[in-house]
Amino acid sequence: MNAVWIYLCTGAGLIALGVLALVREPHFFRKVLAFNITGSGIFLLLVAAASRVSDGPPDPVPHAMVLTGIVVSVSATAVGLALAKKYHHLTGHTALPGEEDEE
């Protein structure tokens, strides 16, 4: 059991948590947070898996992928938040119609 496996399991846990929240939480804001957490879990998983080396530097390719992923996810976060803001501004709702709203 070394650090890699810890982080792999952490990644799995984050993913599970994130997915749970992404679906469970009605509030847009938390959905976005959850989506970020899930993403982080996946990134962690990818990089941790690439670190399964006993010596020398780890595989750089997943690193590059994760960098790309982070940028994508920040872009998505921004778009999601922008949408949510506008929706809230227009309707006052913070969750999708049909989801329980928090007031």
């Binding site: 984050l14 804001f29 970020n36 962690l44 590059a64 960098l67 920040v74 938040l81 922008a82 809230h88």
Partner: protein, 308 residues
């Protein structure tokens, strides 16, 4: 060190749980930023300094900024009602998901170098020595091209929505202290961005990190004075936003027209091309992140006769 990893891992999981379930949205954002910092630590532990930098700058700081800006809109209803907890079924299924994942991961072979060695042998041909930068801009440069596209797309999306910017941007702080600090910080941040950009070729760093630092500078400037933005015309903003993609596309087209494959640059020219791309990209990234932060209002689409 395992103990440290345990603590970091446990902290991440706890923070994640907490930030997703706490009542106050503001608290969530703060916890999220903390979570990002822990993540950065983890990246460091996993020998991924490039990601650690990016996480700190983009994943944590930039996203945090975005979240805070959004919170401005949601403030009146930011309190969370104590609803029913996650249903048993949901918990069960998510637990199963985590279990399956962990199971699959633990069954992975314990040793895997991946493409490390292949990358190491080819990195010399790319003209940069940081393998991550080599992957990003040479081996998988095409990914990055599309990624820049994603960023521009995000900017387009946000602009097309035409939201108002957060209140604290609309009403800039008149605090002298703040403005003095910003005036002091701005050149340093720009310098740092330049440095990150330059060093990216050989060490951790690069366009994304530089771009996000630049964005931080832009945002700070906007917080104290929106006026400076109007000194840059709309068209110029758009050029800045599109510059990264434009240069990248030009590089692509150039390589195609010169008879090699798409984005194929080698040897001596390579580093110059990469640097050019990165510079433009960093600039665009900075501008884009600013747009994303501002939520695409007012200033930048004044000529956009919206059709809605």
């Amino acid at each position: 060190m395992i103990a440290f990893d345990f603590i970091v891992a446990a902290g991440m999981l706890l923070l994640a749980w907490h930030l997703l379930s706490c009542r106050d949205l503001f608290q969530s954002v703060v916890l999220f930023i903390s979570f990002g910092l822990l993540m950065a630590l983890a990246w460091v532990r996993l020998n991924a300094p490039d990601i650690a930098l990016a996480e700190a700058a983009i994943g944590s700081a930039m996203t945090g900024a975005l979240l805070l800006a959004a919170l401005d809109e949601f403030k009146p209803s930011a309190k969370r009602r104590n609803g029913p907890g996650p249903g048993i079924a949901s918990l069960l299924f998510c637990g199963a998901l985590g279990f399956v994942l962990a199971f699959a991961l633990l069954k992975l072979p314990p040793e895997a170098a991946g493409l490390r060695d292949a990358a190491a042998t080819e990195v010399s041909k790319t003209g940069v020595s940081n393998p991550v930068t080599a992957v990003l801009l040479s081996f998988r440069g095409y990914d990055t091209l599309l990624e820049i596209g994603v960023l521009l797309m995000a900017a387009l999306a946000v602009l097309s929505l035409g939201n108002r910017p957060p209140r604290f941007v609309l009403a800039p702080s008149r605090s002298l202290v703040l403005s003095a600090m910003v005036r002091f910080l701005l050149p340093i941040l720009v310098l740092a961005a330049g440095y990150l950009l330059w060093v990216g070729a050989d060490a951790p760093g690069g366009a994304f990190q530089a771009g996000s630092v630049l964005a931080g500078a832009f945002i700070l400037a906007a917080l104290v004075d929106t006026g400076w933005m109007s000194r840059v015309s709309d068209r110029q903003w758009r050029w800045i936003l599109a510059a990264g993609l434009g240069v990248f596309l030009a590089a692509g087209a150039g390589t195609m027209l010169s008879g090699v494959s798409l984005l194929e640059y080698r040897g001596a020219t390579s580093k110059r091309v990469i640097l050019a791309i990165e510079t433009a990209a960093a600039l665009s990234i900075g501008a884009t992140l600013l747009i994303l932060f501002l939520g695409g209002t007012g200033r930048m689409d004044t000529d956009g006769k919206d059709d809605s």
